[in-house]
């Protein structure tokens, strides 16, 4: 009953128009703006210039970019190290347990990251449970009670980032591992493979595509992240996302903000591309 026509059907039109009007055009606007400059009182002066791009490669911004890259890398690697065993445990569990574990991983996926960052702050704060247990133990030992000062530290930043992005890593790995027939592992064992062999030569290569997808899912948003470092790093470490949002909301230098945002996107796309090409995962796995 459906005829093959070459024109897109009418019913696809509303969404297409919407995406063009609220996605494509705004993104083009960012691109365009990056070649203009800021007026004296904010606003935009429309004369063509490359100055924004030259300014973006200033040492100051390179250092901020370096912070972001390190944070995103550490987050992605940590998520892979923690997420892989989790995904494996889920994949080999019985059907019923598996459904529950999956739900347990999906729910944090939906929790608001402001809530999560605040939660991490409370658990690690000086009046939080970990520190209280610590002080209690110190008291028992009879030594002077000094708090651990876990809040507003690199540790709290790490916990915040990893617990926010972990589901993004676990789910793609789980999806890949789930399809595997785990009885083949028994065969490998029967033939004399040691646990480490099974891990390094079967499971990791098997899950590599999932890890790669997860890595991109985590690395991409982590690179632009600035709210979590703001809330948990004690606002001491400036991220590239801070610079961008400040240019838009505080300094009101929109052309320069657009330029950094564009460079960030290009960097993300490029590293994703390199990552897929180079097979980094295969090498390290």
């Amino acid at each position: 009953m459906e005829q093959i026509s070459r024109k897109p059907p009418l019913s696809t039109l509303p969404l297409l128009l919407w995406l063009v009007f609220f996605l494509v055009v705004p993104c083009c606007l960012v691109l365009l703006l990056s070649f203009f400059r800021r007026g004296v009182y904010g606003g935009v002066v429309y004369d063509f210039t490359f100055d924004n791009y030259l300014r973006a490669f200033d040492f100051l911004y390179l250092r901020v970019a370096f912070n972001s890259v390190v944070m995103a890398l550490v987050t992605a690697v940590s998520c892979a190290v923690i997420g892989f065993p989790m995904a494996y445990v889920m994949a080999v569990a019985s059907k019923k347990v598996r459904a529950w574990l999956l739900l347990l991983v999906v729910i944090p996926f939906w929790t608001n990251f402001v809530v999560r960052a605040h939660a991490v702050k409370s658990i690690l704060s000086d009046s939080g449970p970990i520190n209280q247990v610590w002080e209690f133990c110190m008291g028992l030992l009879g030594s002077a009670v000094t708090p651990l000062y876990l809040g507003d530290s690199l540790l709290s930043l790490w916990v915040g980032m990893v617990s926010t992005y972990l589901p993004f890593m676990v789910i793609p790995i789980y999806v890949v591992l789930e399809k595997f027939d785990f009885q083949l592992l028994e065969a490998a064992r029967d033939l004399g493979a040691k646990p480490l062999d099974v891990l390094l030569r079967i499971l990791l290569p098997l899950g590599a595509s999932g890890i790669r997808t997860g890595f991109i899912f985590v690395f991409t948003p982590a690179l632009g992240e600035f709210v979590i470092p703001d809330m948990l790093g004690g606002s001491k470490i400036l991220m590239i996302g801070n610079v961008i949002s400040d240019q838009f909301l505080k300094t009101r230098d929109w052309p320069f903000g657009s330029t950094i945002a564009l460079i960030l996107i290009v960097a993300v796309l490029f590293s994703g591309y390199l990552f897929r090409k180079s097979g980094v995962m295969n090498a390290t796995a």
Partner: protein
């Protein structure tokens, strides 16, 4: 045959695996548990924590917070009401026809999923300011529809592709016209996916921080924005109470999505 448990197979490696898995779930849940606990065990001044609902009470007594909650609900409902029909309509046309530019459309559709939220937020801010749209509830809604509509399409399209076409053909053979077939056969069959899509759109909107951060302007804080500013300046009890409420809403929505899309497989 279900795969055998191999806890005892792997020696120290198995232990490492269990420890890491436990650590992972602890990272995900321990902080949330502490917030929920502290929302009812309140600390005031230097006194030890005591059982109290004063945090919740203060949340509902604060008109700013109540306004933020109702604004978030309003935006979430509007987002779902716009994104669901637009996304469903698109899926119907997209799956059931062959035409040019299908690949381009697919790429366009996956753009909101791949684009960092930061970029979407600031691009829309520029665009709204240029169009002289007043930043507020409407600009936030427009932005939310833009990133959530793709999820609706993904959900509905998956169900549509798995649908038995013979059911529709049977209806047509029995004399139903296209509209009747759509309304009486296709849409009812799609309903679980449409409901799931609407719930997802609502949740994404309700949860969103970054895009809202850029497109909200002054004086139209949504719940996540309000929370963000409260974390710094408000007493802990209120923040914990509001966090717990937010968690409850999103967790029950996630459960609902899970339940509705579970119907899909049956």
């Amino acid at each position: 045959m279900p795969p055998r448990r191999r806890v005892n197979h792997d020696g120290w490696l198995g232990t490492v695996r269990s420890v890491i898995t436990l650590l992972g779930f602890l990272l995900l849940y321990a902080p949330l548990a502490v917030v929920i606990l502290y929302s009812v065990f309140v600390k005031v001044g230097a006194a030890p924590r005591f059982w109290s609902f004063q945090g919740y009470q203060k949340v509902f007594e604060n008109p700013d917070i109540v306004a933020a909650i109702s604004r978030s609900l309003e935006i979430g409902v509007m987002t779902a009401l716009i994104a669901t029909p637009v996304g469903t309509l698109f899926s119907l046309g997209f799956v059931r026809n062959e035409f040019r530019f299908k690949g381009v459309m697919n790429a366009l559709l996956s753009l909101p999923l791949l684009l960092p939220e930061l970029l979407l937020g600031l691009a829309l801010l520029l665009w709204f300011v240029m169009l002289k749209v007043t930043l507020g509830v409407w600009s936030i809604t427009l932005a939310h529809v833009t990133f959530s509509v793709s999820y609706v399409v993904l959900t509905v399209r998956a169900r549509l592709e798995g649908l038995d076409r013979q059911l529709e053909e049977a209806a047509r053979d029995l004399g139903a016209n296209r509209l009747q077939c759509l309304l009486k056969v296709t849409l009812p069959l799609l309903m679980p996916a449409i409901v799931a899509g609407a719930l997802i759109a609502f949740t994404l909107s309700f949860d969103d921080f970054l895009v809202t951060f850029f497109t909200s302007g002054v004086g139209s804080d949504t719940l996540p924005l309000k929370l963000y500013s409260m974390v710094r300046y408000q007493p802990e009890a209120e923040v914990n109470a509001l966090s717990t409420l937010t968690l409850l809403v999103t967790a029950s929505l996630a459960l609902a999505v899970n339940l509705v899309s579970g119907l899909k497989r049956r």
